[in-house]
């Protein structure tokens, strides 16, 4: 009888190893330390291509109470369906940094991504960052605004694209400032962009682009603004009964 059991057990074992063939057990990462805070170092709010890795890695910092980097803390990344991380979990390096390459999903839009680590008491620390994938229209909008608008609207200055932001008597808003742009509906934005600031009682320093940009270009810029705005833009509600 025992012999039969033994054979059965071996059979079951072989079958089980056969099943798990596709997922060879990864050597589990073991945290050697834990931090008390998670912070983004770089690589958030990137604009990528659907289905492709983002241009820069996402880097997060694990810090202790004093704000110093903690080495050896385990950070796990997760995101909505279709988002992939390489690696999906890692231990922080001597600077407390963890770096992962993020591949966004196949459709355009915003991808909230989460980094999780546990503190000394075993409590989970969450950090949410946003990444974005631009579809055709948003990508067009990105290009159009980079050519025509970002010199004034983007305060960041680089040698290739020197910013005019600081030279303007009335400061424009960076296009990711959801608090400003989310209050303006598509018609308002179209009106400002087409007819200039005065169309909505804003400064004439905002020029009119209605005779320069096509309607499709203006729609594309608006789509881009909607994609990057932070806090996120909520399209006028469509669902009235959630399941």
């Amino acid at each position: 009888m025992t012999r039969y059991l033994l054979i059965l057990e071996m059979l079951a074992l072989t079958i089980c190893t056969g099943c798990s063939h596709h997922a060879p057990p990864a050597p589990a990462l073991q945290a050697t330390a834990s931090g008390s805070a998670l912070a983004v170092s770089s690589g958030d709010k990137q604009l990528g291509t659907p289905g492709a890795p983002l241009p820069q890695p996402l880097v997060v910092d694990v810090n202790d109470d004093q704000g110093n980097g903690v080495q050896g803390a385990l950070v796990k990344f997760s995101g909505p369906d279709g988002v992939r991380f390489d690696p999906a979990e890692a231990l922080s390096d001597s600077n407390g940094e963890v770096s992962t390459n993020v591949t966004v999903g196949d459709s355009s839009g915003r991808y909230p991504v989460e980094a999780i680590t546990t503190d000394k008491k075993g409590k989970a620390l969450h950090l949410e960052v946003n990444e974005m994938a631009a579809g055709y229209q948003e990508m067009l909008g990105y290009q159009v605004q980079r050519k025509y608008c970002s010199r004034c609207h983007d305060p960041n200055s680089t040698p290739e694209q020197v910013s005019n932001y600081d030279n303007l008597a009335v400061a424009p808003h960076s296009f990711d400032q959801g608090n400003t742009f989310n209050k303006l509906d598509d018609a308002d934005l179209t009106s400002i962009i087409s007819h200039g600031g005065p169309a909505m009682n804003l400064s004439a320093l905002m020029p009119a682009y209605g005779s320069t940009l096509s309607k499709a270009d203006i729609r594309a810029v608006i789509a881009y603004i909607r994609l990057v705005s932070n806090p996120p833009f909520e399209a006028p509600g469509m669902v009235y009964a959630m399941r």
Partner: protein
């Protein structure tokens, strides 16, 4: 007839009793007939349609959505394009813009694109099997001649099937095409486009005809072994040569090199060229001239902080002192056309007082570690002969002019239809996904891994560059050749305009078109000159050629000073002012000065208030801070009134793609602004410097 109490089934009995036979046959028939409707009823697509109906029920515009919903198989049929697409059978929300927020596939709306679904169908862009009505059949089939779906990351490839010139919304495709043209791919591989044109390379590989004058065999050897270790931005790929191969090729190139022709004018007697003797002051003076001549517009060099800064039109100059021979450098700087008649480098007319410090500076930029470990014995005839053979085998002459070696024909596979390469023709390496994008990507990253003995060299592309290249290649499909005529967009015919006559010769010597586009031909790092004669005043142009100052404060690339002689300047000014005119502008239609003060004041008023031009331009440097557009402090001495007026009315009509917005100005406003701007003559000093 009496039925038996208990029938034992027997085939024999069945066949003998016609009634039983009839009954059985009818039953079988019924079952057979029921299979089709049952299969249909339980089909995958019906399930999706049921789910869709459930989903739209809870939405605010469910009434409208329900009205648009039709059960059954949907089909887009475009006979001329061979499109029979049933994708909308399951992808039910594609044309419902209100479903933009729906992330559960297959029900979301299609992201906005400039095309109608009903006009193009789905598979033209997404590939896959349009007629299939199961998910795997439509998406993943790899049976010949089926194509699996095109992964989203390469989506721009589909635009490239019809659009052969750059689109603003397809940066990846544009980048991929630029890489194909700029990294020598098109020198070995032919790419014919559906309109009969051929993609042309844009890179500028140097001739090797006089290579021995320029550099040492040791340097060539080290370069051949690893070009990127000399300059990370080098476009020359790595041929993964063995030491012996690099030894023999370098031996052949040196042995095959001919002396460079005489420059005509014998160089002024050189003060002994010995960089160690150059004083720090000399080097600093040379560095200053390097800056003033805007060499960095085209050449990159590592600065003190270790960053490589500068343009990439010419080779990187970090370590140049360890690369080129002093005699060659002197001759090159004196007139680069002597060594390479087709070079993009302008003939700067540096005086010998300028040349010496400039050479001292360049020679002080050394990188001796590059050749430190190269020890070559004198070449033997056998090695030289083997070197020639290797040069032929590796196709060096596809890119470089080499004496006595002709360009090989059909050297590498034609890539005109690579985007439709049947999977059955591909030899996949074990462990890699059996898809065309995976193959192309792997090939671009590790070209030699597929079959030993392949000659395709190793590039050092970043992952983003590989994606871009794969996108550009995937656009080269069979379908692009068979598309309906009206979908095909012609490739713009490249212009080969060159100015004529004496001025033409001078402009070729200065290589103006390396940076300036004229009548469609030339670079884009400086303004288009096709309408220059209509826009600027003669006196200004003459002064500018004498002493170019910058018009735009934020530009990092600037017009260098060429030390033109007076007659040379006169030739150029005359030619530009008379030939580069456009018919829209009549220079004499408006005077360049003498506008009534009231009109000037009115112009000033609307400049600052209504149009707020000061947000980008500066008229009064003390108060205005606008920084993007040209400085206008002396614009009245620079531009013609007729040009300013026409520009204000419609900038893009004069320069397509100009970023100055068209303000839809009334004639009166444009006149007043013109009067105001023409009054900005400067102190007169700037204009006549």
């Amino acid at each position: 007839m009496r039925a038996p109490e208990k029938t034992r089934f027997s085939w024999g009995a069945l066949f003998h009793d016609p009634i039983q036979l009839f009954g059985a046959a009818s039953f079988v028939l019924l079952v057979v007939l029921a299979i089709a409707p049952l299969k249909d009823h339980f089909s995958e697509w019906r399930r999706y349609q049921q789910q869709y109906v459930q989903m739209i029920h809870i939405r605010r515009d469910s009434v409208k959505l329900m009205r648009n919903f039709r059960p059954g198989i949907h089909q887009i049929w475009i006979p001329k394009a061979g499109v029979v697409d049933r994708c909308e059978t399951c992808h039910l929300g594609l044309e419902e813009s209100s479903l933009g927020d729906v992330k559960t596939e297959p029900f979301g709306s299609h992201p906005p694109i400039p095309h109608q679904l009903t006009e193009f169908g789905c598979v033209v862009c997404h590939l896959g099997q349009g007629v299939a009505t199961t998910v795997t059949g439509a998406h993943d089939s790899t049976k010949e001649p089926d194509e699996p779906l095109l992964p989203a990351r390469y989506m721009e490839a589909s635009c490239g099937q019809c659009h052969h010139s750059p689109l603003m919304g397809t940066p990846t495709l544009n980048q991929g095409r630029a890489l194909l043209a700029g990294y020598g791919c098109l020198r070995c591989h032919t790419v014919n486009l559906p309109d009969g044109s051929t993609m042309t390379p844009t890179d500028d590989p140097p001739p090797l005809t006089h290579i021995a004058e320029k550099t040492s065999r040791q340097w060539i050897y080290a370069w051949l072994k690893d070009p990127q270790s000399w300059s990370a931005a080098a476009t020359m790929p790595n041929f993964l040569l063995s030491d012996a191969e690099a030894r023999d090729i370098s031996a052949f190139l040196i042995a095959n090199s001919a002396p460079q022709p005489d420059s005509g004018s014998p160089p002024a007697p050189t003060p002994a060229v010995d960089s160690s003797a150059a004083s720090a002051a000399q080097i600093a003076a040379g560095q200053a001239l390097y800056g003033e001549s805007f060499c960095a517009s085209c050449h990159a060099m590592q600065n003190a902080a270790g960053n490589v800064v500068g343009g990439n039109l010419g080779p990187e100059l970090t370590g140049i002192g360890s690369k080129v021979k002093p005699q060659w450098l002197k001759s090159w700087l004196s007139d680069p056309h002597v060594y390479d008649p087709k070079t993009l480098m302008p003939h700067f007319r540096w005086t010998s007082q300028q040349l010496t410090p400039l050479m001292d500076f360049l020679e002080s930029q050394t990188n001796s570690s590059f050749t430190a470990n190269v020890h070559l014995d004198p070449a033997t005839p056998g090695q030289i002969a083997h070197g020639r053979q290797l040069v032929n085998e590796y196709g060096c002459a596809e890119c470089h002019a080499i004496r006595g070696v002709s360009k090989p024909d059909n050297f590498a596979p034609d890539l005109s239809r690579i985007g439709s390469k049947p999977l059955a023709q591909i030899v996949f390496v074990a462990g890699m996904a059996h898809t065309l994008p995976a193959y192309l990507t792997a090939k671009l990253q590790h070209p030699r891994e597929f079959v030993p003995g392949l000659r395709m060299p190793q590039y050092t592309f970043t992952p983003a560059q590989v994606d871009a290249l794969a996108t550009a290649l995937l656009a080269l499909t069979d379908r692009s050749f068979t598309m309906p005529r009206k979908w095909q967009l012609a490739t713009p015919t490249p212009s080969n305009y060159r100015p004529a006559g004496q001025a033409g010769k001078l402009m070729a010597d200065l290589n103006c078109q390396t940076c300036h586009r004229i009548n469609g031909n030339g670079g884009d790092i400086a303004p288009d000159l096709s309408a220059e004669g209509s826009s600027v005043q003669r006196q200004w142009l003459d002064n500018f050629l004498k002493n170019p100052n910058t018009i735009r404060p934020t530009l990092i690339r600037r017009m260098p000073k060429f030390n033109l002689s007076d007659p040379e300047r006169a030739i150029l000014t005359d030619y530009i002012m008379t030939v580069y005119q456009i018919p829209q502008i009549d220079r004499d239609s408006m005077p360049d000065s003498g506008y009534p003060q009231a009109l000037v004041e009115q112009g000033k008023e609307i400049f600052y208030s209504k149009y707020a031009c000061q947000s980008c331009h500066m008229v009064n440097p003390n108060t205005d801070r606008g920084y993007i557009g040209p400085v206008l402090t002396t614009v009245g001495s620079r531009l013609t009134a007729a040009w300013i007026y026409a520009w204000l009315k419609d900038p893009q009509a004069l320069r397509p793609g100009a970023i100055e917005p068209n303000r839809n100005m009334s004639d009166a406003d444009a006149r007043a602004l013109t009067a105001f701007l023409m009054a900005q003559k400067g102190s007169g000093k700037e204009a006549n410097q």
